[in-house]
């Protein structure tokens, strides 16, 4: 295939951003049109990519490889496999919805330009197969997000945006140094002394001391743990999510947090299998703490948006649990759950945004009985919330079930404690739903308008995806699984461990 599809997916939003930046700011409609064309065009390309993706092939597909900086062995290498495919699709799908849905109250031009740069950054991070290219895109996501929170956020936006930037840049400081250390160690340990940032070549290095690799792994993990965010590095998240404009929250929760978990899978597990296994108990424990702590804190929130933000801490804990269970079920569940969380939390933030647009408050105590004036909004909210809880038949269940199953095989007690998170999720979300939507509406609540057709059009694809993945996840899992088993095989080969065997159908003595 000669058409550089992946390069096009990354560059189309950039071109869109450049065009938007060059249009005079008084031509609002043109700007909006260009922004939508660029993001929808990217989504179309991503769908095309998914259709042409070869099922059953666990390796990287659609690989483009061009030398970029010869001195450092950096190449523009992009590729997609089952782990990244649906994250790319999710990103490309969420952006047009986030751009179409919520209203922008001022300066649409800069807003759209930053959003498109952000989209390019996210897509580039998911597609990069060169660690430096990954780092560049990973860094590139921070700046636009900063401006979106700081420029279009709510009252406390300046504090939240600075906190976000400082935390995440702090993480990437460790990432770059660890990355360079790995690259130079690879150079001295490889047969041809080649300086390269190629992910596949770096993963093949042998002979670097495990104690060194553990430190380097910790450097990578620090950056990704801030992004995920893993307890106790999560404190930037509630502020950033709450103060960000709706579209910012959608992208932050839906896509940006996945950069952390994706990074742990793609780089943590793949490059440092032994170190990852050695440190898994630490990460699993932090994940379980995050699950329960996030859920408990979410339960006591007074602000609806903050509640959803804390639920993210809990849900991302589940993903980490699946990733560091070191079983194919757990990892597949983790990858699937990344997509699920993007869909359901993205949708929840859109809905909270719609409520705020109408009521100008997010305080749960000031809302109530919204089911009466806005039945459609309530219905959609119900579906999305149940998917977030993990109700069977909706997408959240499939992912969480696989994760708990996979974790139970290798780390039984962590799985047991994590299960309480499922119950707690039901507690805080159902309770919140009850307080916001049930009862008799009073005051302004009684006159709230229901969803407009435009808003329904934005929510429809998300609800369809939520139900589809819950009822029939097979096509997705069929594409994820080969890559996941290939990664697990790599991990087990490199660490000389054996995958856990499950006694299927044999009678116990």
């Amino acid at each position: 295939m000669s058409f550089p599809l992946l390069t096009a997916i990354v560059l189309l939003p950039v071109i869109g951003a450049a065009v938007v930046a060059l249009i005079p700011s008084n031509r609002d409609e043109t700007i909006r049109a260009v922004g939508l064309v660029a993001s929808i065009g990217t989504a179309v390309l991503a769908v095309f990519l998914t259709i042409n993706f070869k099922t059953g092939d666990g390796g990287f597909q659609f690989v483009t490889d061009h030398v970029w900086i010869r001195q450092f062995g950096v190449s523009w290498k992009l590729g997609v496999d089952g782990i990244s495919l649906f994250l790319v699709l999710l990103t490309a799908g969420l952006f047009p919805l986030a751009l179409m849905g919520p209203k922008v109250h001022h300066d649409r031009k800069s807003y759209l330009a930053w959003m498109l740069v952000l989209e390019a950054g996210c897509l580039g991070s998911f597609l990069a197969l060169d660690v430096l290219v990954f780092f560049l895109f990973f860094e590139l996501t921070i700046i636009p997000m900063y401006f979106i929170i700081g420029g279009w956020g709510y009252d406390n936006r300046v504090y939240a945006s600075i906190k976000f930037v400082l935390y995440t840049l702090f993480g990437s400081a460790f990432l770059l140094v660890a990355m360079l250390a790995l690259v130079f160690l690879h150079q001295s340990h490889s047969a041809d002394h080649e300086l390269t940032f190629d992910l596949v070549k770096l993963a093949a290095t042998k002979g670097i001391a495990e104690s060194t690799l553990r430190w380097i792994f910790l450097g990578f993990a620090a950056a990704f743990a801030v992004k995920v965010p893993l307890f106790p590095l999560h404190t930037w998240l509630p502020d950033a999510h709450t103060e960000a404009p709706t579209a910012g929250s959608v992208i932050l929760a839906g896509v940006l947090l996945k950069l952390g978990t994706y990074g742990l899978v793609r780089f943590g597990l793949y490059l440092f299998p032994k170190a990852a296994i050695d440190l898994a108990p630490l990460l699993l424990t932090l994940a379980v703490i995050g699950i329960t702590y996030g859920a408990i804190v979410a339960a006591v929130q007074k602000d609806l948006k903050r509640l959803v933000a804390y639920s993210s801490v809990a849900h991302l804990g589940f993903i980490i649990l699946g990733v560091f269970a070191f079983t194919t079920q757990g990892l597949s569940g983790g990858v699937l759950q990344m997509v699920n969380h993007g869909l359901s939390t993205g949708a929840l933030f859109l809905l909270v945004g719609m409520i705020y647009e109408r009521r100008h408050t997010r305080q749960i105590s000031e809302l109530g009985g919204l089911q009466k004036p806005a039945p459609v909004l309530a219905g959609v909210f119900m579906v999305v919330m149940l998917s977030s809880i993990g109700l069977p038949g909706l997408n959240g269940f499939v992912g969480e079930f696989l994760i708990l199953l996979g974790t139970f095989l290798t780390h039984r007690w962590w799985a047991v404690v994590a299960t309480t998170g499922v119950i707690l999720a039901a507690v805080y979300l159902l309770w919140a739903y009850q307080r916001v939507f049930h009862g008799e509406p009073t005051g302004d609540n009684a006159t709230m308008t229901d969803m407009t057709w435009a808003e329904r059009a934005v929510m429809a694809p998300l609800v369809v995806a939520i139900v589809f993945l819950g009822v029939y996840p097979k096509p997705v899992l069929d594409r994820i699984n080969p890559s996941v088993s290939q990664l697990m095989t790599h991990v087990h080969e490199r660490t000389e461990t054996r995958p856990p065997t499950v006694a299927v159908g044999t009678d116990a003595p």
Partner: protein
């Protein structure tokens, strides 16, 4: 003939004074700049009436371009035949010196473009400014080409004295005079320390010529080398002052703030490049074998410079002062390249200096415009809402600030990446990490200005009452060049990296 006369008066047991053969072609770039400057000065005093507006800036740009062209000829000569010494081994012509020539000449051209409308705005127009700038550049070039500590000192003094005058050039502003005075007092002091260092090194090794010093260090095992090390430390102090390394930075904020804005930009780019040329030449190239002695010192210096520079920039409310501290922290990154003590490190430092020249001169071009008549409007509040008044200026300044932060796909990222990779390669993990964390701190104050520019003006500020800022053609050209360079090289940095790498080949 002079030699003959001297031989007659001198006692006969002394060897006759031999005057060196001067290979003019080897020092042509320096000659073009010096002679050009003097011709401009002479021409302007002989001319009957004032020349057309902008003539001096134009001449400066042309002279610098001519010097650049002759530097390029030397570069091709070096790549074909290797580096060589000239003028009785007083100067060395190698890739390193030519690279620094390019940095300094670029700084002169950009500063001249920015200074021309500035000088007319402030009623300071005349050839003197440009003459001083060119003399300063020739001093810097001499420092880059010096193969002898005495020549290095000569270059340093030519550079410094011109800069003292330039700093006080806006003589009607008290701040400008104050800046010149402070710079002069502290600068003279540091020159004295440097000279004392030269004396000590001479005392310990018996020569001021860099290759001979290197040979002495290589061939002799000195058990008590206290004198040599003391000399080394003094050289480090003297040059550290010029590059504004902490703790020799105290003059920087005051001088950067008080000096005319185009001068500040020029100072940050050219003086820094020249100072680092001296540092790299003396420490990396001459005292390579003593690297275990000086590397810890440079390590401490780099850490202090990075941390103090970025932390103190946080609390500034004056943009020029803020960029003064930021330039200190940038010097810290360049020091990382020196600390690595490898040719990759030096290449990283050179790359850093080259890209920083564009970033900082672009920034000061904008600061010059926003400073308005009187060059006093430098409060951060002057930038509030700039995007609504002058969107293009705000965008350009955003590019420079983001590049200095080290955002991907700008030159700033590659500069940091280059020096930090050199540090990691040399196993200075702690230094690399500290540098990255300093970058996080510095992100805070750069981004603050960007946000300020994109904050909507509430309507009652003074800025709206003032007339709209005009962007003169020359400044516009300088901005296009600097923004274009910062982004294009940010996307395709490979060729500049090769250039920097080649420049360190024979060091």
């Amino acid at each position: 003939m002079i030699g003959h006369l001297l031989a007659q008066v001198a006692p006969s047991d002394l060897p006759p004074l031999v005057l060196p053969k001067v290979a003019y072609s080897a020092i042509l770039p320096e000659i073009i700049v010096v002679v050009g400057a003097l011709l401009v000065l002479a021409g302007s005093s002989l001319a009957r009436r004032k020349g057309p507006a902008g003539i001096w800036a134009l001449l400066t740009v042309l002279i610098s371009m001519l010097a650049g062209a002759s530097s390029y000829r030397l570069w091709t000569r070096i790549t074909d035949h290797g580096p060589f010494h000239a003028v009785a081994d007083a100067v060395v012509v190698d890739g390193f010196s030519i690279f620094i020539f390019f940095v300094i000449l670029t700084a002169v051209i950009l500063a001249a473009l920015v200074a021309d409308p500035y000088l007319r705005r402030e009623n300071l127009d005349g050839p003197e400014f440009y003459v001083l700038m060119m003399l300063c550049a020739s001093g810097g070039m001499l420092m880059a080409a010096a193969n002898d500590l005495i020549v290095l000192f000569l270059g340093l003094e030519i550079l410094s004295i011109s800069l003292y005058v330039l700093a006080g050039f806006h003589s009607r502003r008290a701040e400008s005079r104050e800046a010149a005075m402070k710079y002069f007092v502290l600068g003279a002091f540091s020159s004295a320390l440097f000279l004392y260092g030269v004396a000590l090194v001479y005392g310990a090794t018996g020569s001021t010529q860099l290759p001979e010093i290197a040979a002495f260090v290589a061939n002799n095992v000195v058990v008590n080398n206290g004198v040599l090390l003391a000399g080394l430390v003094l050289l480090l102090v003297g040059l550290g002052f010029k590059v504004a390394a902490v703790p020799f930075h105290t003059w920087t904020p005051d001088v950067y703030q008080g000096a005319p804005s185009p001068v500040t930009g020029f100072m940050a780019a050219a003086a820094k490049a020249a100072g680092f040329a001296g540092l790299l030449r003396v420490f990396f190239s001459t005292f390579t074998l003593l690297r275990l002695d000086w590397q810890p010192l440079v390590w401490v210096l780099a850490v202090l410079t990075l941390v103090v520079g970025s932390v103190l920039a946080l609390v500034q409310t004056d943009i020029k002062r803020m960029l003064a501290y930021s330039s200190i922290s940038h010097a810290g990154y360049v020091l990382i390249g020196l600390q690595a003590g490898s040719s990759n490190g030096v290449a990283g430092s050179l790359f850093y200096l080259f890209t920083y020249t564009f970033m900082v001169l672009g920034s000061f071009a904008i600061i010059t415009l926003i400073g308005r008549k009187g060059d006093g409007n430098h409060d951060l509040d002057a930038y509030r809402g700039l995007s609504t008044r002058r969107p293009a200026l705000a965008l350009a300044f955003t590019v420079f600030l983001l590049a200095q932060t080290g955002v991907p796909f700008t030159t700033g990222l590659w500069a940091k990446f280059y020096v930090i990779s050199a540090a990691v390669e040399a196993h200075s993990y702690a230094l690399a990490l500290i540098a990255m964390l300093a970058a996080v701190v510095s992100a805070f104050f750069y981004l603050r200005v960007v946000v300020l520019m994109y904050t909507r003006d509430e309507g009652e500020s003074d800025a709206q009452a003032l007339p709209r800022i005009r962007v003169p053609v020359t400044v516009g050209a300088a901005l296009v060049v600097t923004v274009g360079f910062t982004i294009l090289v940010g996307i395709l940095p490979s060729s500049l990296m090769t250039f920097a790498r080649h420049a360190t080949l024979f060091l």
